[in-house]
């Protein structure tokens, strides 16, 4: 059986006798050996009492509330705002560990940008037969409005979130690419600021590379992709509004970049430009970092009932007077079906072997693979091709027979809407939970910025599944976050 993106290795970790599930790699301690990157943290944890950790936890929660790093829950009429739980024990990566993640993420984003620019223009990869035409043009996320669009520098995904999981010291898998409106970077930044405020002693003991230059790099990226290079561009962040769950992040990034935060109702198109309705004269926008989905951007070309976007926006883009970050139509490159094709893109566009592996993936649209999936539901993770947020998926090993039978029917109803992957033993990190310090599964989302260069700060968002044994890290499913440290080179020498 052939699996796209399988690479050469399907790691089958040892399993625990009790559960039959793979044993997770503990990033802090491999057997009796302490990871060198965790030396100082281990020492600190040995001396930190439960009370100290609890005080830190409370202090962090209070700070998050004061800062308003909260989100409203859709459908909750009480108006209560909630926090995403923050774990006070950081995750630590040595410089070499990070370097692998960095190189692999940059490689991936370069290939994905080349792919997007190609499929909406020359389609060389399709002409070369390296990827089936149907896989692209038959994808419901292939965006007709993006055809022929060539944004500045050929860059379509200026901000990308690459979701990674780890199963062994040098073995990372890409879980998915996020090329539309990846969120969460403000948590990366606020988690660090919170740890520095509450536990400064940890930062005195070792050299943790900073992440707070992210907004500055984001601004630089936006400037680099402005449509007219001859003048200082006007940049704005487009938000759906204060009710959006990521509104804090929209404000945060606009504020830290020193640019305006706008809503669709603040904008209008005229004379081939996009304008802000100011107190004084209107002001033209050159680069719009939009945090709303394609569907809502322009009622003239997408959903006609959208009140969040601006009529005529896409025409301004076509006239070359506005860069949208990210560009429209990126969904075709980051859905779970196209995911399988990324290793091939890397080879085709960059002439390189993938640095980061894809998780072996079974396409239910292929009869032989569907048959395998149905026979192994109890050990696979099955997902909807266009799903996100951890919703609508089946985690085989933790599911009941009834759940599997029900899910089986869903898959059989529409096989092409599902893919399946082996249940990976996501690595664990020490986490402060009600019972004390215990290992919990984590993933990693670095944020990759693509302008004239592709770059990222030495840090990422770590999401942690707080429930014992859970592999689902999504905040919508009870996951939390951790500060993620990358140590300076000398720290791991």
């Amino acid at each position: 059986m052939h699996h796209y993106g399988m690479g050469t290795v399907l790691m089958t970790p040892p399993t625990t006798a009790r559960t039959g599930r793979p044993t997770a790699y503990n990033e802090m301690r491999l057997g009796d050996d302490l990871s060198p990157a965790y030396g100082h943290l281990d020492e600190w944890l040995r001396h930190a009492s439960g009370d100290r950790l609890e005080n830190l936890r409370r202090g962090a929660a209070a700070r998050f509330h004061e800062r308003g790093i909260t989100f409203a829950v859709y459908g909750d009429t009480s108006g209560a705002e909630r926090l995403i739980p923050f774990d006070v024990i950081p995750r630590v990566l040595g410089h070499g560990e990070w370097d692998l993640v960095k190189r692999g993420s940059i490689q991936r984003v370069k290939a994905l940008n080349a792919f997007l620019d190609d499929i909406y223009n020359d389609q060389e990869i399709l002409k070369a037969g390296r990827i089936p035409r149907e896989a692209v043009e038959g994808n419901e996320l292939f965006c007709a409005q993006a055809k022929g669009l060539r944004p500045a520098g050929g860059i379509h995904s200026h901000i990308s979130g690459v979701d990674l999981v780890r199963v062994a010291p040098d073995q990372w898998y890409v879980l998915e690419d996020n090329l539309r409106t990846p969120s969460g970077v403000s948590y990366m930044l606020e988690n660090r600021a919170t740890m520095q405020r509450l536990a400064p002693e940890l930062f005195r003991a070792q050299s943790v590379l900073p992440v707070d230059q992210y907004p500055s790099l984001l601004l630089q990226t936006m400037r680099e992709v402005a449509p007219h290079a001859d003048s200082e561009p006007t940049i704005a962040v487009l938000t759906p509004g204060a009710a959006n769950s990521a509104y804090f992040e929209h404000c945060y990034l606009a504020s830290r970049m020193g640019v305006e935060l706008v809503e669709g109702r603040d904008l209008f198109c005229d004379k081939g430009r996009l304008w802000m309705k100011n107190l004084g004269a209107p002001k033209a926008i050159d680069v719009l970092y939009r945090r709303i989905d394609d569907d809502f951007l322009d009622p003239a070309e997408f959903r006609p009932d959208s009140a969040l976007g601006v009529r005529g926006l896409m025409e301004v883009v076509r006239q070359g007077n506005l860069t949208l970050a990210n560009a429209v139509g990126n969904g075709v490159a980051d859905d779970k079906a196209t995911y399988l094709l990324v290793p091939e893109m890397i080879k085709f566009y960059l002439g390189e072997e993938p640095i980061l592996s894809n998780v072996p993936t079974y396409r239910c649209s292929v009869p032989s693979e569907l048959s395998y999936v149905l026979d192994h539901l109890h050990e696979l993770v099955v997902k909807e091709v266009h799903g996100s947020g951890g919703y609508g998926m089946l985690v085989g090993p933790t599911s009941t027979t009834a759940e599997r039978l029900k899910y089986r029917d869903r898959v059989l109803d529409d096989p092409s809407n599902f893919i399946a992957q082996p249940t990976l033993a996501l690595s664990t990190c020490p986490t402060f939970v009600a019972q004390g310090i215990a290992p919990r599964h984590v993933d990693l989302r670095p944020y990759v910025l693509a302008g004239k260069e592709v770059r990222l700060v030495p840090g990422a968002l770590t999401r942690v599944a707080l429930k014992e044994g859970s592999l689902v890290v999504n905040s919508s499913q009870g996951g939390g976050t951790k500060d993620t440290w990358v140590l300076a080179d000398e720290e791991i020498a």
Partner: protein
């Protein structure tokens, strides 16, 4: 500055000012009802306080007027727009919309106040204390104003100040229209300390944050003529009506470009200022003067609601 955010900034200024004024009003009325002059007759002052904030009908339709019930409603009610809780929530909502324009300290001062007031309700207010809660709210509003002082002197603080001065003008005129009734009729004869009339003048000045100013400028014995002059027409007091009407005019003039301020607003304000600057000799046609003042203030309020709309 975006037109929409200018609207948010204006209302931020108004709701913060309204919160502070309400806390001062409740604190002053609460103090008044504890005096011997008002023993057994506390309903009147609370009805006045409710009337000042426009909540009289709503409150009396649903609640019996009992000791502290009006104060609890004015401070903690979750549903009525005129409570302190609702005003702080509205200030915070407007600040949140314009958050990226605010300093972190200003935002956290506003958001912290919102977080704290959510812990105050009618059940724990007696333990916490009405006066303590009012003082807390006044203190938080002043802290917020202090934090706003660090904003770059551009359009944003100008619009916040516009909201503040508009609201302050409105509040002073409401205070006067409610308090200058019946036994508060202004006479040239000062009331005796210890009388209800004297206590009401004290309360009016305290609610308008002018009692200490009055004592320093004059004496502890309140002369209605001097008190009314201070409230209405003192040329430098930051709380007098004329100063705030002038400030409002000046802030409107300062907004450059097509700033969506109807000229009728400025015209109404100019008429009000002219009226305030022609304060007649007391005892002459003061009731008529005050009646006209109320009408002019209402006209300003009506026009002001269209600013940045």
């Amino acid at each position: 500055m975006l037109l929409r955010l200018a609207g948010n900034a204006l209302w931020l200024g108004r709701y913060l000012e309204r919160s502070e004024n309400l806390a001062r009003l409740v604190g002053a009325v609460q103090g008044m009802t504890l005096t011997p002059e008002y023993r057994g007759r506390v309903e009147g002052p609370w009805l006045d306080a409710l009337a000042v904030v426009g909540g009289l009908k709503e409150f009396t339709a649903h609640h019996p007027l009992e000791p502290d019930s009006a104060a609890a409603w004015l401070l903690t009610d979750r549903t009525h727009y005129s409570s302190l809780f609702s005003n702080i929530r509205a200030a915070r909502d407007n600040a949140r919309t314009a958050r990226h324009l605010l300093t972190d300290e200003l935002w956290e001062a506003i958001n912290g106040t919102w977080l704290e007031i959510q812990n105050i309700d009618a059940t724990n207010l007696p333990d916490r204390g009405i006066a303590v809660t009012c003082a807390w709210a006044v203190g938080r509003c002043q802290q917020i104003r202090g934090a706003a002082d660090d904003l770059l002197r551009d359009t944003l603080p100008q619009v916040i100040l516009l909201g503040q001065s508009l609201e302050r003008s409105d509040y002073v005129s409401r205070l006067l229209s409610v308090f200058l009734r019946g036994d508060m009729a202004v006479t040239t004869t000062p009331p005796e300390p210890g009388t209800i009339a004297h206590r009401r003048w004290e309360t009016l000045l305290e609610a308008g944050a002018l009692l200490e100013t009055y004592r320093r400028s004059h004496t502890a014995h309140i002369d209605p003529v001097q008190a009314l002059t201070l409230v209405l027409a003192h040329p430098t007091s930051p709380r007098s009506l004329v100063v705030n009407a002038r400030r409002t005019l000046s802030a409107l003039d300062g907004l450059s470009g097509p700033h969506h301020v109807p000229t009728a607003t400025q015209e109404a304000l100019q008429i009000l200022v002219d009226h305030l600057e022609s304060l007649p000799p007391f005892g002459a046609d003061l009731p008529g003067y005050l009646l006209k003042l109320g009408q002019l203030a209402d006209a300003v309020g009506l026009e002001a609601s269209k600013i940045l709309d």
